[in-house]
Each structure stands twice: as C-alpha cells, then as structure tokens.
C-alpha cells in the first residue's frame, strides 16, 4: 500500500512574540493576535529548513533508497536553479533521482504530497521525499508580519513499511487572487482580508473536505484528526463546527506558536498529527491556496516501529525568544545595516569550483583512508595521518550526519556579521576528523570546549550583485 513511511519537521530556534512586533511598528494600526511566530535565523531560508526537516525524516533510514525529491514552497530562494536539487545535494542523494519544485501556491505542499503518492502508485518512483518549507517575507508592520512564520515538514512516501496509508483525496482549484507576486518583487500583494476570508477560506476548505467525505462516503466523525491552516481563528472554529467535528478532532494549527508556514503548513500539521497518532487513526488534511487539496491517510501498526524523531513537538519546545524587532529586520534583510567596509568586500562564487566540489561543500563529504581508516575533511588524496600517508586510497565519507565536540572556539567581533560576534571553532567529529566551522543557533556564553555539536545546513552568504546564495554546513549545539 502506498503511504507515508516516515516524517520529520523543522522549526527554527527563534520565536518572536507578536507584542514585540506591535511594540515596534504598532503605530501602523494593525492589531496583534496573541502568540508568537517562528523566525528563521539570518542564515536560514526555505532550502536550509527543508534540509533540516528532511534530515529529521530520514533519521535511521537508508537515504540511498530515495529516488525522487519534491520541494514545495512559495519562497524559493532561486527562481532559476532548481531548489529541490540543492536540497538533494545537501542530503547527499544519488544523482539518478527525479527532483522537482512545487511553487507559487500555499497548496503546493499538499499537491507535492499527492504527486508523490501518484508517482509511487504508478511505479515510476519507489521512495519520494516530499519537503515543504516556507520563509515568507512580509512588509514591516503589516498584518502578514504577525501571521507568517517559518518552518518546514518532510514526508517520505513509499509503498512498504508505511506508517500511514494514503486513502484518498479531493482537490479544488480556483484562480483565487488572494495573494500574488510577479517577477522579482520582494513582497507579495494581498487583496482585502475580508474577501480572502469570506470568499476563499470559509468556502474552499469546506468544499474540498465535503467533496472528500462524499467521494469516499465518510463521516467527519471517522477522523481522529482534522488539520487545515488556521489563518482565521474564528472561521477555523466555525468550519470545524459546521463540519460537525468535536474539539478533540481538531489538529493544532500552530498559528500562535509558529505562525502560518504557507505551503509547509498542512504538511507540518500532518507531521504533528502523526506524532500523536495510533494505529487505525484516520487523519484528514486540507490546504488553502488557489483552492484546496483535501486528503486523508490511515495510520498503520508500523508507526510503533518508527524511531524517535524531533518532529514538531521537540522543535517547538526548543526555542529562544527574539526580543529585538530590529534584529529580525536585519535577519530578513529588511533594513540596511552598517557592517563596515570589511563586510563590503565582495565574494565571487566560483560556480565551476562549486559544482566540481559539490559533495564537499553541499553534502559535507570528506574522505576516509582505506588503509588506516582516518576520516578527513575536506577530502584528501594524500592521507593526513602522518603514520600513513597513503595516496589515492580514499573513499567518500559523509560528515553531515555525524556529531562532534567543540575542540576550540571564539566569538569574533572583527568578522563582518549581521549578528556579531561571529562564533566559530574547530570540531572534532565522533569517529575521527577535524575541521573548522562557523557555529550557529548559539550564544557565545553557552559554548564550552568539549561540548557536543551537530551539523546543520545553512546559507553562508548572499551575494546579491551576482545573484548567488552560498550554502554549506555549520556546527550547532545539539538542538533537541
């Protein structure tokens, strides 16, 4: 049976209380709802969060089996250069896979998932990794700024050992112009909120769900959990009521904890539902964006065998409040910061070198000497072990999924940074290998020599003049 084999999620460490936004730009007259939103760090974006969710999802499984990767988002960093291919490269997946970006609608996450079910159903793919990730820019002071949060979810679709079987779907598509954006515009446009709410949200989601119930001759009571975006809290409750569902069936929308994560939202909610699900549960998920996809899965006994994941629960609990709205603006490049002349020294990304060394840079692959077993990064042709020195006796060795300890570190105030000090250090990997890395998602005071760290895929730099986002791996304290 086709279904979901594994799940994973990622929510960035920073959370910003809505009152922080209101305190800074409340004069513009928008009204905050209570709650907080997840804010990507300055070195995070849709791609890096997708990679993080994917890593959570493939934990304990053989990633070599993946033969297709979909990335769903409305905030793809690259308009030209496949974002899903970067995710696949970071995950060190084999080249003989199919990759595709699902973009431009908040229902892209569910559409990608349905397409994955189709691909496995038809036999064209066996193991599809669906990543849904969004980190959307919003104009400072607007209502979207309170609403939008950053996060990602990942689902592994396969036809063996599935933890939940795919049972059915019902989709509606409308050219509903609630939000739009063309070309290289920085911000999206939105029509009047009441129009979106009354003509879109409260009509299209019930239409899809009702269509699904009718199509499969099901009753709303048949579902253990019902998940759809909660961008209008009152109307969300009203839809639930209209469907005849009980409060216990409502899947938390995370709207006041993470915010609306766009295309990732229904996927993240499905992951959260799976975290608490028991065999036999039916879970209904619906998206909202230019229509709606409603789909449902049924949980199997296999869910008991799935190893522990960080998932929504652990990432939600692991957080640090971002109390400075100005820092948030800096993180999102929404204000021009003076990082000094040193910071203006340009980077010219050598694309051919990047491609040649893609495994080294994007997958954090080093080498291991077949003679003496010494892991080394970056990959060497001549073994670094002084007692070995073997030449061309290397095999690939991936460091990205290995933990290590801080060998030494510093917090550097001279290095140009949007969030000084720049923290970096040397990491000794479990099992061997040492290299220097930037550290992220940490505070200088919390770093100690010998403390355990893990690796996280991040955006290293944005070279706007040449249109390049550079990615590689950083070290971070074990998140959860």
């Amino acid at each position: 049976m086709v279904g979901i084999k594994s799940y994973g999620a990622y929510i960035p460490r920073y959370r910003m209380n809505h009152n922080t936004i209101f305190g800074a730009v409340g004069f513009l007259g928008t009204f905050p709802t209570p709650g907080e939103k997840a804010v990507a760090n300055h070195d995070e974006d849709t791609i890096t969060m997708a990679v993080a969710a994917a890593i959570d999802c493939i934990n304990g499984l053989k990633r070599e089996a993946i033969d297709c990767l979909y990335l769903a988002t409305t905030s793809q960093p690259y308009l030209l250069r496949q974002n899903s291919a970067i995710v696949a490269a970071a995950l060190d997946l084999e080249p003989n896979i199919r990759t595709a970006d699902f973009i431009a609608s908040n229902k892209a996450g569910t559409t990608a998932l349905l397409s994955a079910f189709d691909a496995v159903n038809s036999g064209t793919s066996s193991n599809v990794l669906v990543c849904a990730s969004d980190s959307r820019l919003s104009k400072p002071g607007g209502s979207q700024e309170y609403l939008y949060g950053d996060g990602a979810g990942a689902l592994w679709v396969a036809d063996d050992q599935v933890i939940a079987t795919f049972e059915g779907f019902y989709s509606v598509s409308y050219d509903f112009p609630d939000r739009w954006k063309i070309g290289t515009e920085k911000f999206e446009h939105a029509w009047e909120d009441r129009f979106i709410r009354d003509e879109g949200y409260t009509k299209m989601i019930p239409e899809a769900i009702s269509g699904l119930l009718k199509k499969y001759d099901l009753k709303i009571k048949d579902f253990a959990k019902i998940a759809f975006p909660g961008i209008y809290a009152r109307e969300h409750a009203a839809i639930i009521k209209r469907l005849g569902a009980e409060p216990g069936q409502i899947q938390d929308t995370l709207i006041d904890k993470v915010g609306d994560t766009g295309a990732a939202s229904p996927v993240i909610m499905l992951v959260a539902a799976l975290e608490d699900a028991k065999p036999g549960d039916k879970i209904l998920v619906a998206s909202f964006g230019n229509g709606s996809d409603a789909l449902f899965v049924q949980v199997t006994e296999n869910i008991k065998n799935l190893g522990e994941r960080r998932g929504v629960k652990k990432y939600l609990a692991s957080k640090k409040e971002l109390t400075s709205y100005e820092k948030y603006l800096a993180f999102r490049n929404l204000t021009t910061m003076d990082i000094g002349l040193r910071g203006e020294v340009g980077i010219r990304t050598p694309m051919s070198a990047l491609y040649r060394e893609r495994k080294t840079i994007l997958a954090l692959c080093g080498s291991r000497c077949k003679k003496c077993g010494t892991p080394q990064y970056p990959p060497q042709r001549v073994c670094v072990n002084p007692d070995c020195g073997a030449v061309d006796e290397m095999e690939d060795y991936r460091f990205s999924d290995r933990r290590g300890v801080v060998f030494t570190y510093t917090g550097d105030n001279l290095a140009a940074s949007i969030d000084p000090p720049s923290i970096y250090g040397l990491v000794d990997f479990d099992g061997g290998g040492r290299y220097w890395f930037d550290f992220t998602d940490c505070d200088l005071d919390s770093i100690k020599v010998g403390m355990p760290v893990e690796m996280t895929f991040r955006r290293r730099y944005a070279d706007e003049p040449t249109g390049v986002y550079g990615y590689s791996w950083k070290a971070t304290p074990i998140r959860a």
């Binding site: 970056p378 002084p386 105030n413 001279l414 000090p421 040397l426 220097w436 550079g470």
Partner: protein
C-alpha cells in the same frame, strides 16, 4: 649530508622605516626609505648589488604582483629580483632567499627587502577575508579573521592547562604590558604608549578571549638587509652579524584535519626551532639565546611561542611571564623593540624588522641606552604566517 647555513652569510647593512599608520607614505616611499638607510649602513653603492629578494604579502593593496615594483622603485640596474610570499613570514622568506643565493656562491652581495602598505583598505584589521584556501575559501572556510584564529588557540590553551578566563587573560595582559613598555621606548615603533594590566584586561573584546590590547598593530612599513659572504663581511664593516641558522616549517594538515594536535601550541614553531638549534649548534635555547623577536601577532602567540621555542617548559610560560623573564631587563628579553604588538606589523616587512632589532642590539646600537640589552650573544627571530591550525613558521638565529 647538508651542512646548513651557519656562518656562511653575514649581514652588513640594515634599514627599517618607522612603522605606523603612515597615511602620507606609499609602499614605494617605504621601499626607498628602508633601502636608503640600509645602503648607507652597509656603506656600499647600489651598483654593488648583484641580486635582490623582495617580500610583500597583500600585493593587491600596494605594489601589485611580481617583483618589478622593487626594481622600478629603486631603479635597480637590470639585476635579478625575486618576489617571495609566504603569509606573515614573507619578510623572513625574502631574507632566506638572499642568504641562500649568497651561500650557494651564485652572488656575493644581495639585498632582501620587505614592505607592506596595509592602511589603504578603509577598515581595521588585515585586508579582506581569509585567503588560506584559494577558491575553497568562499565555499567552506568559516568567517575566520586573524584575531579569531588565534583566539581559538587561547581558548584551547586555557582549557588544556586549566586556566579560567580571568587567569588566562591576566597572563596574556602581562605579555602586552611588557611589549608596550618596550614600544614606548622605541622611536620607530607604531604604538608608543605604556598600558596597565587592568587596561589590557578591560579593553573591548576583539575575538573572545582576546581584547584590543592582545592584538598587534596593523601598520605600514618596510625593512631591508644587505647580506654577503661571511669571509667578505669584515671588508665592509667591523661588526657584521652572522647568520647561524635559518629554518622554516609548514603545517602538514595534521593540526587542522587530524585529531592529535592539542591546539595549545604551534607545531611548526617547535619543529623549526629544533632544526634551527641543531643548525646553530645550540643545546639549551633557554640559556643560550640572549634575546628574541617573536611573532607576537597576538599575546597568546607570544606566550605559546616561548614554549614552542623551548624558552619555557610546556604549560609553564605563565611562571616565566610572572617572573619577568622576558622583560627588557629580564634574563631573556623578548620583543625588545616592542614586537609586532607595538612596533607594528606590516606583513612583508616584519621578518626583516625583527632581524633589524637583533642586528642593532648585537652591535650595541639600540638607539637609546635604556633599550640596549647588555652584551647579547645570539638573537633569534620567529616569524609566523597563517593560523595556528595551518601555518608557516620561520626561525632565524643571528650572532656576532
């Protein structure tokens, strides 16, 4: 079996400009200034020079690539000029090239000149990002700066030898206080103000745990030497200074990529020191080396170097620092001219500037009596380029 360079080459003239933020001087001006003093000191004519070695590191900041800028600036008459570059050890590399040229018998009189014009970048610290790894730099190198790279050695030293940050910073403060004391007495030094331990400890943090006064000056300057065959040297002056050892060691990658290095010492410095002592026939460097100019780009570098060069036992430099061993009036004065810390650090010039101080001290010609070390026999220079985990160190020993 190679028999080394000991007593084959002598320095017969040296020159060194004032170091500092010399807004009114170009690299070419500095070249001319250092060369004038050097030539005058040697008492020879420009046309006596048969070859030259030229050191500059950040060529894009100043003179451009190649060696033509030295030839053009000094109007050297179509003689061979070679440019050397080996990070912050560039100056010593120019000197090494010149010495080997003489020792080989290829030439009799050779110039070594190093220059660096750092203050045309528009910001503090060294120019640009790290450039250790070529095209990989932008792709997989952390945002390393020099203070950050050496701060990591301080973090490590504190951890390995069980110093808490307060103890560690106080130990390092004493290193800087000593260098400021020396620099304040040197008319050619960049930073000429004494500081207190409290000032050093309370200064703004540049890269934890290093503060402003743990970092050396970023300066413009040039220095030069003229070397000749040892058997000819006394024809030029009664007090030539002889080269006793010239060694250099480069990282093999073990420090950065293998896990045996402790991070609390510089392996290349130890290795180059061992080789230099062997070449010079020195059994006990703590006793036999009268004085030294070491590459104190940061206070921690000097502290660790005392151990690497076997002036202090491993992990025990704190005791020697506290006892004042390395002060101008101590048993083994270190950085008598103020060091990189206060004399300043124009990269390509630094190695030659260190030799300049050793040369003058050996000749008894430190400008002021209060600066003159009493009856020194052997002076050592230690010139380091790169970062503790990946670097080049050269060690030179000179004597009468």
């Amino acid at each position: 079996m190679a028999d080394g360079i000991k007593d084959k080459v002598a320095i017969i003239g040296m020159g060194c400009t004032k170091f500092g933020e010399l807004w009114d001087k170009s690299a070419e001006d500095l070249i001319v200034d250092a060369f004038k003093e050097c030539l005058e000191d040697a008492g020879i004519d420009k046309k006596d020079l048969q070859a030259a070695w030229f050191g500059v590191h950040f060529e894009e900041q100043s003179v451009g690539k190649g060696a033509t800028s030295l030839a053009l600036t000094l109007k050297l008459p179509f003689i061979p000029v070679t440019r050397t570059e080996n990070f912050c050890a560039t100056g010593t590399e120019a000197f090494r090239g010149a010495c080997y040229a003489v020792a080989s018998g290829a030439y009799d009189i050779v110039l070594a000149l190093g220059v660096e014009k750092l203050k045309d970048t528009g910001y503090g610290g060294l120019p640009g990002g790290p450039s250790l790894m070529g095209t990989r730099n932008a792709l997989i190198m952390p945002k390393l700066t020099a203070p950050g790279a050496f701060a990591m050695m301080a973090t490590r030293y504190f951890a390995v030898y069980g110093l808490n940050p307060e103890e560690g910073k106080r130990m390092l403060a004493k290193v800087s206080v000593k260098s400021h004391y020396n620099g304040a007495r040197n008319p050619k030094a960049h930073l000429r103000r004494e500081v207190t331990e409290e000032q050093v400890i309370n200064a703004p943090i540049i890269a934890w745990p290093l503060g402003l006064f743990d970092c050396c000056g970023v300066s413009d300057g040039a220095a030069a030497a003229i070397v000749t065959r040892a058997d000819m040297a006394r024809k030029f002056r009664p007090d030539p200074v002889y080269v006793k050892a010239l060694q250099i060691a480069l990282s093999s990658g073990e420090e950065l990529m293998y896990t045996k290095w402790d991070g609390a010492h510089v392996e290349t410095a130890y290795r180059a020191g061992v080789l230099a002592y062997k070449e010079a026939g020195i059994k006990n460097p703590r006793q036999e080396i009268s004085m030294a100019e070491v590459h104190d780009c940061f206070s921690i570098t000097e502290a660790v170097t005392m151990e690497d060069l076997q002036f202090s036992p491993r992990g025990k430099v704190k005791e020697d620092i506290e006892a004042g061993r390395f002060n101008l009036d101590g048993e083994q004065p270190i950085q008598p001219d103020g060091g990189l810390k206060c004399f300043g650090h124009p990269i390509g010039a630094s190695g030659l500037r260190m030799l300049y101080e050793m040369y003058k001290q050996l000749q008894g010609k430190a400008q002021l009596p209060e600066r003159q070390i009493k009856d020194p026999k052997l002076g050592l220079t230690h010139n380091m380029g790169g970062f503790p985990a990946m670097n080049v160190v050269s060690v030179a020993i000179v004597g009468l």
